[in-house]
Symmetry: C2
Subunit: 151 residues, 2 copies
DNA sequence: ATACTATAGTTGCACTGGCAACTATCGGAG
DNA sequence: CTCCGATAGTTGCCAGTGCAACTATAGTAT
């Protein structure tokens, strides 16, 4: 028989949900206002910028940005149209496509990043002591690692 | 000049985003499968069940479930159609409407709750020591309290 | 080589959610 | 009492997302 959360655990869970909703909402609006960039676009730019060659396969990118592959296809469509990324053929596997950062994409990221990171600090990190940040990371990575794999 | 997150703080933030996405995704699917109930519906049922009279004004309910009032109108439409809640007139303020739990709604909640709470335990609480749960709650409530008020 | 199964990515469709505009009502100022 | 700004809720419209179905290609067994 599995346990259910006790009062303290349930309160933590609810705070987790509420904090996530509010903080992402705030950051989304700030980023939109400061750089005209939705949070999902920023996330894609970051993932590409951090990758080896500045490009990733759709499948890997979808995993990284927590979006279904269908959703990512549309997101990349929009970002291609905006000139921030470009699709490239994959020679070694002709089913695949790369999504690559363009110069404009890299520039948009570098323009948006300082304000966004300042927002992450102000609305999130500022409320954590160094020990709490480390504890939070450890706990949440444990939670994450325990999730059932998708597909 | 505002700070930006250091490496540990950024890792905590990313773990926060990823853990939220994965855990809610898992719980959503489990609840849907076990009770045919989207997470948003469950949340509405819980809020109403915990309220004084088993009913709330749209405005208050919208705040509680982290949804815009427009979004809530549609959600309540669907739940009314399903018979889980009913709209009631508000005598003291004729602009307002109450949303009230029906018998079917209360029953759906009580049928869904055990499995859902077990899921919250399994996918979230189980990975927290009592001290960590308490620390997490405190930190996240502090983060939450610091958010700019909406409207 | 052939066939069979698995995987990468895209598309049709339906659903959900937000914004802005709208109606109805409230509450205070003159 | 009347007007006027504020508030509650709904609706039109549109953007974003997932699921399932589809096409194309890869990998594997015979």
């Amino acid at each position: 028989m599995t346990r259910t959360p006790n009062a303290a655990e349930l309160a933590a869970w609810r705070a987790f949900l509420a904090a996530h909703a509010r903080v992402t909402e705030t950051l989304e609006k700030e980023l939109e206002e400061a750089a005209g960039l939705p949070l999902g676009w920023y996330d894609v730019l970051v993932q590409l910028d951090e990758s080896e060659a500045g490009r990733l396969r759709m499948h890997d990118l979808a995993r990284a940005v927590l979006l279904s592959r269908a959703g990512l296809t549309r997101l990349v469509d929009r970002m291609c149209a905006a000139g921030l990324v470009a699709r490239e053929a994959c020679e070694s596997d002709r089913r695949g496509r790369f999504v690559a950062l363009t110069a404009a994409g890299r520039e948009a990221l570098h323009r948006a990043a300082p304000a966004h990171l300042a927002g992450v600090y102000e609305h999130f990190s500022a409320h954590l002591s160094p020990a709490q940040a480390e504890s939070l990371r450890a706990v949440l990575e444990r939670v994450l690692a325990a999730q059932p794999l998708r597909h």
